[in-house]
Amino acid sequence: MFPGLDTGLSAHQGLFLNSWHFFAVAVLAVVCLRTIPMRYVRQAALLAFNFYFLSYFLYGWYPVLLLAGVLVGTYLIGLVKLKWGQNWPDGVVVVLVVLFWVFLFLVKDPDLLGPANPFHYRPVQLIGVSYLVFRSINYVVDVEILENRNFLTFVNFMIFFPTLLAGPIERYDRFEEFHSTFGYEEGPTLLPSLHRIANGLIKKFVLADNLMVFGIFMKPDQMELAWPLIWLGVMLQLAVIYLDFSGYCDIVIGLAALMGFPVCENFDRPYLARNVQNFWDRWHMSLTGFIRDYVFTPLTRLVMEKADRRRQFAWITAVYFFCMLLIALWHDTTWGFFVFGLLHGAALVGLQLFRKYLSPAVTRSGLGSLRDETAVAWAARALNYAFISMTILFWYFGVSGSLEIIKSMVKL
């Protein structure tokens, strides 16, 4: 670790982004991928770096076998789907996508479904399992329209080490394009990428980790805090998480760009969002884009085809709600995340109802122009920011803990 740092975890529990070890691996990977002229040698070198990185997160044979199963299984499903061509029924794809999601939830939470969960008695720590499953779904659903489907490209895509831990969620078509070329020639030059990494390190390890000390996170009992400090701590929730996660993304996006893989962006100033829907358009964009393409759009298409015309709005609103709940429970299957999903889902549904039933009346009354007023826009941003921050409480303090904090905020 850098001098004076203590992550509280031993060196055997991972390869950390702020360790000299990771720094050395990253530098070596960048040099190799920018200088090796032969394409297959360069791709084999990337494979070696991916496995080297993974080896620090896999403990024992069980997760190795599971990972191998996911890789080989996904690739074989892709081959079978290609072979069947037009004869492959849509229903099979739906079943496969559902099974991938079920597998993900069962691995992530061994207590889910109790003894019926195959991982209940033998939990497995498979690092970045969500990202593996998302990439599997992307590959299986879109395999016909993908190019360069050789096994080496596939495995490098699945376990690409800069984005393996926490995204952004890359798509195969974008990855393979840079996998077969010197991608860095089309991406940002050296200095902007280094600045991006430095910005990420500052956001993640200087700002977020220091701000957390001043928030309510580190206190043994946040209820002992003075009333203004409780408010400050609660309102810091979104800021800290944004700095933490977007800082991490800056680091990996900068590193991947240096390696020749300009990966997708994950944030677009989410603190400026005016409502919950706008927030999710700007926050963890690779996840919301994935849910949009592989859950929301297929379900709304189904609604448009099957549902009675008068009930389509109700069904589509329900799909919004379901997607929000899915995103929330993907983070963790706890009651806190469930309530977080309920609140965000309810806000999204409320927004759709407002747009359908109240917005035309507001426009007719002439009040619609108020939306463009700077003060109104900033008030909406502040309210939205406060709402998101308060709902994030449910991640860390559970339902009863969060309600206690909210009560103390309003001095009940």
Binding site: M1, L9, I127, Y131, L165, A166, I202, F205, M218, F245
Partner: protein, 39 residues
């Protein structure tokens, strides 16, 4: 490459060095939210 570009790159490199100094001096790790959780 003209002088303007060289000057801009030099300023960028100095600014990067300042950022690295800030990171090394003020980094306070060990309290991770997202990264290293089993997503």
């Amino acid at each position: 490459m003209n002088r303007k570009h060289v000057g801009r790159d030099l300023a960028g490199a100095v600014w990067l060095a300042v950022k690295i100094a800030v990171i090394l001096l003020l980094m306070n790790s060990g309290r991770t939210f997202f990264v290293y959780q089993n997503f």
